[in-house]
Amino acid sequence: MRLKPSDRLATTLALTASLSVALLVFAAILGTHGYSVTGFARVVSSGFWPPENLSWRLSSIFINSLPVLFPALGLIVAFRMGFWNIGAEGQLLVGMAAATWVGVFLADRLPGASVLPAMVVAAFVAGALWAAGPALLRVWLGVNEVLTTLMLNYVAVHLVNYLVEYRWKDPRGFGFIRTPPLHESARIGAAEGAVLVVLAAGLVYFMLRYTQLGFELRIIGSSPKAARYAGISYAKVTLLAMLISGGLAGLGGMSVVAGLTGELMEAQRMSPGYGYTGIIAAWLGRLHPAAVVAASLFLGLIYERQSVLQATMRLGVGYTMLFNGLLLFAAISSTYLEKRLREAGRLG
């Protein structure tokens, strides 16, 4: 019997097979490091039942996925045009710092209803500006964006640590390195998060599909040469795309302080690499907004159980990075497998 997969079937088969292999490899590595694989599975899958737990658990997963989801949505925009923004982590961190500044030091001077919008704007602008540097260097001088965006991630780490320790440290914080807590009006829950996600995903979807910018961006992505002949300005599109990409990553940073921690601490304690995980979500979702949202929720599931896994199995953050890296390998294997399956289908 010959396999004659339709395109959709090919995609499903390829993704399922690749993800299964990635999970098996992950389980094997966990096992060889002396961790219980079944224990891990039990922790991750627990808490969905009985039904009264379910809605709490789902909203908790949702909130935990936001720091990945926003950067991932932004990365779609950059990656679609073939601009390798690896700097979502840094853009997220500066967005986080800007949101903290509004939420801690400005909130009591602002009318309550304007605090969250002000945080959104501050986080977006900070992230966008952080991303603009590499975009300009690329456009003006042709400097490799992979490296400039990456270097700025490390600069952002030191910037956040500097702000927390030397500028914004809570004088009543018992010597802990952290800012005073965010104002009550500066916190977000699942509902506010959902509004922001719909807005951000809608923006990306609409922009890519229905605007001149989206059209030009996709042309550059598929053929830079054709774009040049068509008279599309690479400089303009790059800059705009990176402003959006960095801005959305900045929103991810806001969702960390406003949705999860409620205060700013050292960078290492604020982000286990959300910006890098955003790359994985973007790729797993094959750069389609809806699929990327789904992929981010899946990754949020792991982050949500982080503290439990840490407490019950003494698993540090390393395993999430390993898991993420394996998922990214799965994403590219699935592309390869799918191509092969389609060829096989055509031959059959």
Partner: protein
């Protein structure tokens, strides 16, 4: 002015120490890139090299075994990247990123159980007589290995037929294949060798600089090494100079107090990354003027 002289000599000594892992990793990466394969996984490979070197030395008490194991680990990780980018012809950027992320995670899982333990460092090598100025003397053997490797790799790339073949594969793989060169095999060799070098570069950190391991020990050095390859225009001798320059910038926190510089510690920590961005920008201008560039098929898996 004896003071200033001493500070400078100190700076130059630290610069050698800090440049060594950058140089080793960058030379390895340059070899891989010359064959046309971009390996963005260097940071992950270095992290695993650091963890492996640390753990193996902890168990055996012999840092050289740690170095060897780290090289082997680097080679194996690079094989994954080679498989994806050469055999499956997958997107090299994504495969490299996956390796970087997975490697960072793996290293943390492997070594965090031994956090706080110390390991014996590699013993320094004394060059007798007046052959070496004092700032260049009494470094560990890996520093000298890296210094020697640079001209050797230059000779290999520029003066041997093998080097010419590698460059041909990196510039125009389909033509190379049509004249009977085994492109895939050659790329594997270059990527694997580059991975081994990155692994050893990682092991240098616990076994020479820190004498122990901590989370984030590589601190972006793998990414900096990738930048150094570009700064060096893929030329091993220029890469030596670029590594040394970045190494000197990374040494600033050690000499800043002696120079009377009162700068915030976090600014000092951020300076190397900003410096890399600055010199990359300058190098881009220079590259455009001199019309030098990356190997022509770099990063392209299809040919």
């Amino acid at each position: 002015m004896a003071d200033l002289e001493m500070v400078l000599s100190n700076l130059m000594r630290y610069a050698v120490d800090y440049s060594t892992p950058l140089l080793l990793a960058a030379l390895g990466e340059a070899l891989a890139e010359r064959s046309g394969v971009l390996n963005l996984g260097v940071e992950g490979i270095m992290a695993v090299g650091a963890a492996t070197g640390f753990v193996v030395t902890l168990h055996t008490g012999n840092p050289w075994l740690g170095v060897a194991a780290a090289g082997l680990a680097g080679l194996l990780l690079a094989a994954i990247h080679a498989f994806f980018s050469v055999t499956l012809r997958a997107n090299q950027i994504v495969s490299g990123l996956a390796l970087a992320i997975a490697g960072l995670g793996l290293s943390s899982m492997a070594a965090s159980g031994y956090l706080g333990r110390t390991v014996p460092k590699l013993e320094t090598l004394h060059i007798p007589g007046n052959l070496a100025p004092s700032w260049l003397n009494d470094h560990n053997p890996l520093a000298y290995l890296a210094l020697l490797l640079s001209p050797l790799l230059w000779l290999l790339m520029e003066r041997t037929e093998w080097g010419l073949t590698v460059r041909a594969v990196g510039d125009d793989p389909s033509t190379a294949r049509s004249v009977g060169i085994e492109v895939a095999r050659l790329r594997y060799v270059c990527v694997l060798a580059g991975g081994a070098a990155a692994g050893v570069a990682g092991a240098y950190l616990p076994l020479s600089v820190y004498g122990g391991w901590f989370e984030g020990i590589t601190a972006g050095r793998g990414w900096i090494a990738l930048g150094i390859v570009i700064l060096g225009f893929w030329n091993p001798l220029r890469i030596l100079l670029a590594s040394y320059f970045v190494g000197a910038v990374m040494s600033l926190p050690h000499v800043a107090p002696a120079l009377g510089l009162r700068v915030n510690e976090y600014l000092l920590l951020a300076i190397p990354y900003l410096a890399v961005i600055a010199v990359l920008s300058i190098a881009s201008i220079e590259a455009a003027k001199k019309r030098v560039g990356a190997p022509m098929s770099l990063g392209k898996s299809e040919y």
